[in-house]
Amino acid sequence: MANLNIDSIKARTFDAIVIGSGISGGWAAKELTDKGLKTLVVERGRDVKHIKDYPTTNLYPWEFAHNGEIPQDIQKANPVINRCYAFREDAMHFFVKDAEHPYVQEKPFDWIRGYQVGGKSLMWARQTQRWSNFDFEGPARDGFAVDWPIRYQDLAPWYSYVEKFAGISGHADGLPQLPDGEFLPAFPLNCVEDYFSKHVKSKYANRHVISARCAHLSEPKAIHAQQGRGQCQNRTLCQRGCPFGGYFSSNSSTIPWAMRSGHLTLRPDSVVHSILYDEQQGRATGIRVLDAHTKAVTEYYAPILFVNAGALNTNLLLLNSISHRFPQGLGNDNGLLGKFVAFHNYSARISAEYEGFQNLTTDGRNPAGGGYIPRFRNVFKQETNFLRGYAAGFGASRYFGSDSDGLGADFKKSLENPTLGPWQVGSHMMGETIPKETNYVRLDPKHKDEWGMPLLSVSVAYDDNDAKMKQDFYEQFTEMYTKAGFTNIKTINSKQAPGLDIHEMGGVRMGHDPKTSLLNKWNQLHACPNVYVTDGACMTSTSTQNPSLTYMALTARAVDHAVQAAKRRDA
């Protein structure tokens, strides 16, 4: 009996455990297994195998029951997820429905989740930009949050490392606020995007419209062929999962790569209840897991733990990991766990028309989505009445339409012979928000989910800085659009709640000082260093860049540190 028990513990003991299989968890799995560590990845959702589990990927529009629309009863039952732009008939099976996983909104917050192997890396928008020192030095310069314990130079080699593997398309634009990377050829701007780019460059000293940088294989290299991935085929149906592996996801890239190493054990349908802490050893020893279906409890053990549950769920898990040593949650000696949550302000857009280039249109589709305008406000010095700034997208396209009047044979003929409308242009704001103690998540004191986990209670809101920045976006873009000769300019206030940007960050922030931060410069919990947090929860500030590339680089860097530290201990 004793032997059986020892065997059972042995079978549940690994060199490393990764909690979550999304964009950062996938990277942790790849890096740990590449270095020969026997690694367990636990994922709360179901398995989604590359290609095999993309049921809609090759469907034609007419093969969907509702032409892409979500039926009313599903919309009504799921008001939060229904607000997500990608929650459409072709990809709705990859999103968490509201009722399945409730949470508490102390203030309106749209929490967009994907519980499956691959997480949201399956449906992400694939925009990938490096941070610069203007971002890492932001909190120290502008006096908010705490100083980042790392600088661009610490992360630059790791950006290169993950970019080469993931495959990032972009131009070397030579901009100090947006460092260049290891690029595959960029997807080009179209004629109107190019026109606007040249126009903006001629009118403004430090404003640039560049090809959006994205995680697509515009020209695959040998390393991508080794992953079984091929060239992006410009389908722009990415949210369904790509049968070519044309964009980067855990499913197409890191998870199967780790699996081929022979060192990975992947356990889907495994809800992590808490991280186990051993007071004698003074470190975390493993995890307590509930089977998502049977609710059976199992413990797994490892000397290295990576927490990649997704920013807010990582907060939830640490808060729920209570021990005598950590009564407020694992590593939470200073009471700041769950606080200083921030996000990106995506609530402003602007649209217009352009009457030029009537003789040109586009052919095929651009998976990068068009142009990207890096932050130009307050970059080199403070120059406005708000802190920080915003990046923006810029896209131009023409659409076909037909006369909607009449009926009968003439109406039918007009449907069969649609005509090109004018160029439509648009930009959406991606604003940096300031992390504040008053923007927090916590455990709901009363309500639990069906796995016995306390519900996450979210209290996150915009502030005055966001409002001023948004006004500036409207003004600056109206001016830029007007100067470019765009007409019918319309500013749009989506009034969306925080969360719908799907860039929630923080709560377990990095910092120099254990008194004011949770993680050190290697993403280890100050108070429990064999636990690493490398998903969005670790972010000290948000910058304006899309965050995923930074999570990937931080994860690869942290794994390298963990493995080297383990070797040093062995030596």
Partner: protein
């Protein structure tokens, strides 16, 4: 024999499905539509009427018409699953009113009217913008959905304006004079 068993046997004998309880409210038990609908209690004869409306809007020409492509079923499916309750109610009211209007004007049901009579009736509704009545609302909803059903049909997307699943290219400077939407690789999404 309890009531439930009796009803089941009745269904067996008559060979029709008995749908409870909505149909009990109708004075006359009519055969239901040919597809199952959850929110729109449309009868077989109303379905046939809708097919006539769709065919009048999108008639068979040198290309297939609404009946060939069963666009009325697309209209019903989309409205039943994706339509809002008030739109469904206005649609049902308008559908009944159209038949009543045909009786008043021509002493015939809409389906029995001549193509010219149908066209004239619907043209009047086509010019009523903003759907001031349930009847106009019914017409414009039907037209919008039938047109979407047509342009999203397999026929249309393979023969008229061809849809490309795998373009494998992007050109941001494409001359419009080279456009040919019926060509397999016209590149317009």
């Amino acid at each position: 024999m309890n009531r439930r068993t009796a009803l089941r046997n009745l269904a067996f004998v008559t060979g029709t499905a008995v749908v409870l309880p909505a149909c009990f409210h109708e004075a006359v038990q009519e055969a239901p539509a040919s597809i199952s609908l959850r929110h729109l209690p449309v009868s077989a004869s109303q379905e046939a009427l809708l097919a006539e409306v769709c065919e009048t809007i999108l008639p068979k020409t040198d290309t297939p018409g609404a009946k060939d492509l069963r666009l009325h079923l697309y209209v019903l499916r989309m409205l039943d699953d994706c339509g809002k309750l008030k739109d469904q109610q206005a649609f049902l009211n308008g559908l009944k009113q159209l038949d009543n209007a045909a009786h008043q004007q021509h002493n015939l049901g809409f389906a029995a009217c001549t193509p010219q009579q149908k066209l004239a009736m619907l043209r009047g509704l086509d010019q009523q913008k903003g759907s001031p009545t349930d009847l106009a609302h019914f017409y414009h909803t039907t037209k919008r959905l039938a047109a979407a059903g047509y342009t999203k049909s397999k026929y249309f997307m393979t023969q008229e304006v061809v849809y490309e699943l795998v373009p494998s290219r992007y050109n941001g400077y494409f001359p419009t004079k080279k456009l040919d939407l019926a060509r397999k690789h016209h590149g317009q999404s």
